[in-house]
């Protein structure tokens, strides 16, 4: 019973949430259109959470991702406003993410600052930089090229369903590609297995010949790039950029990774589990909104579900230990 709960409790819980909404909202929840909507709504969070998983498998985390998402969004928008071509502006914004990620990596792995402190400091710096670059203003309207705004509304036509054209949203596709890439890197490369080894026991990994410092540094680069990409996706979705719009992504992404960890066999972060965590949080938002639950009550419920999942996982682990 204990090991069953330990291994499948969270997955059953996640499924139960979906079934609950399916029953409560028989006509509008379990529809292809709604799920495509959810996938699009979650695409930015998925990119942040999945790349966050890369540092979390080493036992580190990155508090600066939300501020980086805001920064990359305003960098791209300011360059648009200067009249630069869209690909150039996006490349610069991604480069900002890469550099920010490398900076985090240097602070954590070479200088040896705790990730919490290092990324808290860079979070403040990135956020300040976002205000500096944008002058504190929201950049929108004519400054945002139509082709960039249109990207978030475009997609891959899948065919017609009940007379309506069904489109796989472009943002969903981006999130799927990032998830696939990170999954391959973490699960199917030596590089990825070494990151897990660092997370298991950094000293043992070092003694076994793993270049811990370089690997930790490079992992933060992933997270920075992911955050920057998510910031660009956000800016495209709202066809505007302001210096705080990505900030909320950070805590939700960390929550999603933790929620996902409760669903894995060994309690370690895992890309697909992270996606399951993100989807659970997104389904709660979508379903509770459709059920007209007050938005503040919704926040309380989402927190309670996270606690419940983590409690089941912790109780299961303790029960196994006691046996």
């Amino acid at each position: 019973m204990a090991s069953f709960l330990r291994h499948y409790g969270s997955l059953i819980g996640m499924a139960a949430i979906v079934v609950f909404f399916w029953i409560a909202l028989p006509d509008t929840f379990m529809t292809l259109r709604n799920w495509l909507n959810i996938s699009q709504q979650l695409s930015m969070l998925i990119v942040v959470a999945v790349t966050m998983t890369v540092v979390m498998v080493m036992g580190d985390f990155d508090l600066s991702v939300g501020a980086m998402a805001s920064l990359s969004g305003v960098v791209a928008a300011v360059l648009f406003a200067q009249g630069l071509p869209v690909p150039v502006a996006l490349a610069v914004a991604l480069a900002v993410g890469l550099l920010g990620g490398i900076a985090n990596g240097v602070l954590v792995s070479l200088i040896g600052i705790l990730p919490f402190v290092a990324t808290l400091a860079t979070m403040t710096m990135f956020s300040g930089a976002a205000f500096l670059v944008s002058g504190g203003k929201t950049i929108f309207g004519r400054d945002i090229p139509q082709e960039f705004a249109d990207f978030a509304r475009s997609g891959l036509p899948l065919g017609t369903w009940g007379g309506n054209l069904v489109v796989l949203p472009a943002l969903t596709l981006v999130a799927a590609v990032v998830t696939l890439l990170v999954w391959i890197v973490l699960e199917h490369t030596i590089y990825g297995r070494r990151l897990y080894a660092i997370g298991g026991n950094a000293d043992a990994a070092r003694l076994a010949g793993v270049k811990v410092a370089q690997l930790r540094l490079s992992a933060f680069a992933f997270t920075g790039m992911g955050a920057a990409l998510a910031g660009i996706m956000y800016a495209s979705r709202v066809a505007s950029a302001n210096p705080v719009q990505g900030d909320g992504l950070m805590l939700t992404a960390i929550a999603a990774v933790f929620l996902g960890m409760t669903a894995t066999r060994d309690g370690q972060p895992n890309v697909l589990a992270t996606v399951a965590g993100v989807v659970t949080l997104g389904v709660m938002d979508n379903g509770l909104t459709q059920l007209q639950v007050d938005s503040y009550v919704r926040q309380v419920l989402v927190g309670a579900i996270i606690l419940l999942a983590v409690s089941i996982s912790a109780l299961g682990r303790r029960a196994i230990r006691l046996r």
């Binding site: 709960l5 509008t28 909507n37 504190g136 929108f140 909104t289 007209q292 089941i312």
Partner: protein
Amino acid sequence: MTGITRRSFWRIAGLTLATAVAIVGSAAFAEGEKIAVITPYLSQPGTQFYVEAFQARAKELGWEVNIIDTAGDVAAVISRMEDVSAQGVNAIVLNVDPAQVGAGLDAAVAANIPVFGMDAGADPRIKANITSNGYAMAAETSVYVANRIGGAGAVVMFVFDAFPPVQVRGAVADAVFKNHPDITVLDRVTPDVSDGGIADSRAKMEAILAANPEPGSIKAVWAAWDQPALGALQAIEAAGRQGEGIVITGIDANPQARDAIAADGNFEASVAQDFQGIGSTTADTVARVLGGETLKANVIYVPTKLITSSNAKD
């Protein structure tokens, strides 16, 4: 699993489930028209006023209103618009610039759900935006200034042309002052607003006062919103020139401005938006459209009120 852990597990699970079911159950099976009000700005005072007035009117109409606050997250506004479109509400009321939530408007249009703006901005996909008339508000204060100084003298203007709703106010004041041949605009200042607008306006006004030391060389300060008016007031008082009769006006009549106006000093007038009126008029407009009426105008203005020392404390 041991007995204790199993019991505590079921207790946690049971409690959470019971709470969820109770909350969800009370909301899910209500009757009446379903209206979703979506805003990222519920914590701001003005927004609270019109949301409360909207709810009060909606209650009279027997509607089921779902207030959704995304706490500053504009992308979440789009997401929630998609959710309530899938749910099939009867109408959506928005309180955010439509230019930022185009994808959400597309979802509502596709689901055939009318969208209304509550001080939101105009968009072809919005049935009507209910707001205050910025042109009229600026006309009220600029004409007040022109009349108070007898149509003659130097006026300092505080404007902010980068933000469209405020640009409109400056354009109207320009026209009013231009129409008086003896009024000269001494300076047209755009303050730095990153600190809220008061401090930098004060610094700018101090510089202007220093450059124009003779009493009577500045007759009035017209500000496109209250913060620069408050900054100018501070500068004038700090320079000890409050006795020169420099007339200051603002727009919005925020609490700080009302206090200054009530004190009967240089800050003489501002214009108050009727937030409650915007809320209840939005509800009435939704009712008209749900009742089958087609609206001719897609912007509906709610009258504003000039605030002077006689009514600043009302």
